[in-house]
Symmetry: C2
Subunit: 236 residues, 2 copies
């Protein structure tokens, strides 16, 4: 057991995007459509590079979520085209974003079974960052909201954010287990606080969430290939 | 006393925008600048009417806050110009929005004094709707976060939202007093649940928050001319 006994855990936190339901691939799909729309102004790599740098420079002001993404897409379109992009294409970008917001995010395999198995034994919560309305809508659409005692939608997932969450839950860090697809957001900060984590990698990771191997030395956590593989770790 | 004894109140909820700090006038200022930018495509009234109808049709997808506002401004610019607006003007709209986000919202008069007076006697909370990051940033900038036991940032302020909040606070409705500038968001739903409210009108009300007099018959609540005028109502 890498540092924790399942019997000592009282609260299990689940990340939502790409841990409970598909999310990042919808962003990738919109980006592809966006690149196609603007192909006369640059190639895919150029457009994506500019988009990423604009997203990063807007992060402090906009935070996460689809509306932030849409505003950065529009800014990228104006800049990559040197101010020549047609207003009708701007409207098309807005429509692409609206379509993405309105999507129902598909649940990942075995989510229902895993939550159903664990919910009688632990207090389950969702700890997700992103846009408040986006995340509330996804949770409502998911049909799994009833499994959770608490939903925390956060503007970020730093140690500070988790410290506040644990205070709010009134639980010591070593009784908290976090499960998610992001090493940066779900694993490292929780372990730094003295909590536990299981990493469940997803097929696509946003560049912003990538970690170098050398940042992980000394961290003890399980890696589960799929969500159902957390069950044996917890003795089920 | 219109329906409540101050001694029975345990939690006081404060709305934030235009109750604790100035907010709506910053939107009005951006709208003015926006109308000036687009004056060759329509007069102020036409532009504002289209903007409002676009904001309302986007409300379900976007919710409240500056990013939603920015996206609706851009959509309005494309539509009012019949697709002719220059991409550089779209960038100017994005910059106007960023400037608004980065503003420090001025505290309204006597906020500090009122919170300082009440904080020893009641549990004070903030109950505000809007964008999560926007509202967290405003609260941090305000310097008054320390007065509050709990901050609730909500996607809406219906009876349902307040019911969840009261459950979360573990308090019966009749021990809750809400203070805010919006009859629709701060007064009516709270009274409908059996709670209490003080209305503190602000100089500007967004059209979306306006109420007709006949919707108010039968509702008992105090109206305070300014925030400091809630103190005598509460016996200070």
């Amino acid at each position: 057991m890498k540092g924790f006994n399942p019997k000592h855990i009282r609260v299990i936190g689940f990340d939502a995007d790409d841990t409970l339901w598909v999310n990042e691939p919808y962003y990738r799909r919109t980006e592809e459509e966006f690149c196609n729309l603007l192909q006369k102004y640059g190639d895919i790599q150029e457009i994506n590079q500019l988009l990423y740098s604009i997203e990063m420079s807007n992060m402090e002001l906009y935070g996460y979520g689809t509306k932030a993404f849409m505003l950065s897409l529009i800014e990228t379109a104006v800049k990559i085209s040197n101010g020549k992009v047609d207003a009708i294409d701007v409207l098309r970008i807005i429509d692409m974003g609206k379509e993405q917001i309105a999507l129902k995010n598909a649940l990942l395999p075995d989510v229902w079974k895993v939550l159903d198995t664990l919910s009688g034994h632990y207090r389950l919560i969702v700890a997700t960052k992103g846009d408040l309305l986006d995340q509330e809508r996804k949770l409502k659409n998911s049909g799994i909201a009833g499994f959770f005692h608490h939903i925390e939608i956060m503007t970020g997932k730093t140690e500070d954010h988790y410290r506040k969450l644990l205070n709010h839950l009134d639980i010591p860090a070593d009784k908290f287990l976090m499960i998610g697809n992001s090493l940066i957001s779900d694993v490292i900060p929780v372990i730094n606080l003295g909590g536990h984590a299981i990493h469940v990698p997803f097929q696509v990771t946003w560049q912003h969430e990538e970690v170098h191997d050398n940042e992980l030395s000394g961290y003890e956590y399980f890696t589960a290939k799929a969500l159902k593989d957390i069950l044996p770790v917890l003795g089920f």
